[in-house]
Assembly symmetry: C2
Homo-oligomer: 181 residues x 2
DNA sequence: AGAAACATTGACGTTCGCGTTAACGTTGAG
DNA sequence: CTCAACGTTAACGCGAACGTCAATGTTTCT
């Protein structure tokens, strides 16, 4: 059960944080050790207390790893960028100088753009690969269709052995995958 | 220099193969050891000779690794699938039974679809991430614009410090990246 | 034939990303 | 107070994916 410290802020011990993120306790400690997570607060006895934000951050780390196959070092960089973003935002009001604000925002914006172009790059290449695969599938289909024709009435019933996962989305070589879900 | 063995077939020693693929010799031997590459032919003295196909395969392996962050084991699976595909194709003519052909094609088609859905999955998630990033950039832009307005004539000239990589593609949250290159 | 350049097979070393165990402290329910 | 459940640090272990010698053989150029 989540631990309520005071008022309405909920914190989680390492066990629950691990459960929620589907990571292990060891992994959480490891990420902390590697600086991917700012050291979480502790209770009097020394038990770690993870905030909601901490948990969210962990979930993001997981996405970065699983989805993009980034190393922890790379992920750290991306997260550092984001930290700067948040820090910038919190300092926004009390920041005296004017052009300084703009400069900071510019930096953050630049980093965000870099991350985007990195994503674009990967997506583009993946789209290319997908296109090649789709071409093949089409080729198989027409091959099978043509075959079924020459075979006359005898329906072959080739319901491809296992999971028909990417249902029928094989055509349209370059269409956005979001449109296929 | 590439080594011409006979007639028009060109082969490469490990050094050049490594250069071309931007991998190390060690890596090539390692991949061979791990079965990602069928053992290349050798010259009399025992030197490895890589064919064009071998080099292409190596390049594909690299793409899989860098682009998708797959483990070598996973890559091996994908490549095995492709091997089956080629094998199927070469056996196509001399294969006697009819429904057997269809079955084989069905299997290969199924594997291809699986790979596609895997790609789709990743691309979809990446598109989501990209969308979030784009939103941020837009927010920064409007913030800066609004700021420049209130500041009157004094143009701040905030040409974001470094590489403006993802040029202007920040809007259109879900557009296919290929359209942005 | 001799030397430089390139390759071969071990075999040990390294970094990453955790898993696992040990020995011990904390918390919360009864 | 006691005891199970949960947490802590420290340390060693492990598989993946190579890096890095070292000792030896091969090719090629002159």
């Amino acid at each position: 059960m989540p631990v309520a410290v005071n008022s309405e802020e909920t914190y989680f011990q390492i066990g629950e944080a691990a459960d929620r993120t589907r990571l292990t306790q060891r992994t959480l400690r490891y990420y902390e050790e590697k600086g991917l997570l700012k050291s979480p607060s502790r209770m009097d006895g020394g038990f770690r207390l993870y905030s909601r934000e901490d948990v969210e951050r962990l979930e993001r780390i997981k996405e970065f790893k699983d989805l993009l196959g980034f190393s922890l070092a790379e992920i750290r960089e991306m997260l550092d960028a984001e930290d700067l973003r948040l820090q910038t935002r919190s300092e926004w009001r009390r920041d005296a100088d004017a052009s300084e604000k703009a400069a900071k925002i510019g930096v953050v914006r630049g980093m965000t753009l870099q991350q985007m172009s990195l994503l674009d790059d990967k997506m583009k290449k993946m789209a290319t690969m997908r296109g090649e695969l789709a071409e093949r599938v089409d080729k198989y289909d027409s091959l099978l269709a043509q075959w079924a024709e020459t075979a006359g009435k005898e329906r072959t019933g080739w319901a491809s052995t296992s999971g028909e996962t990417a249902t029928k989305c094989s055509v349209a070589p370059m269409s956005i995958p979001a449109a296929c879900g």
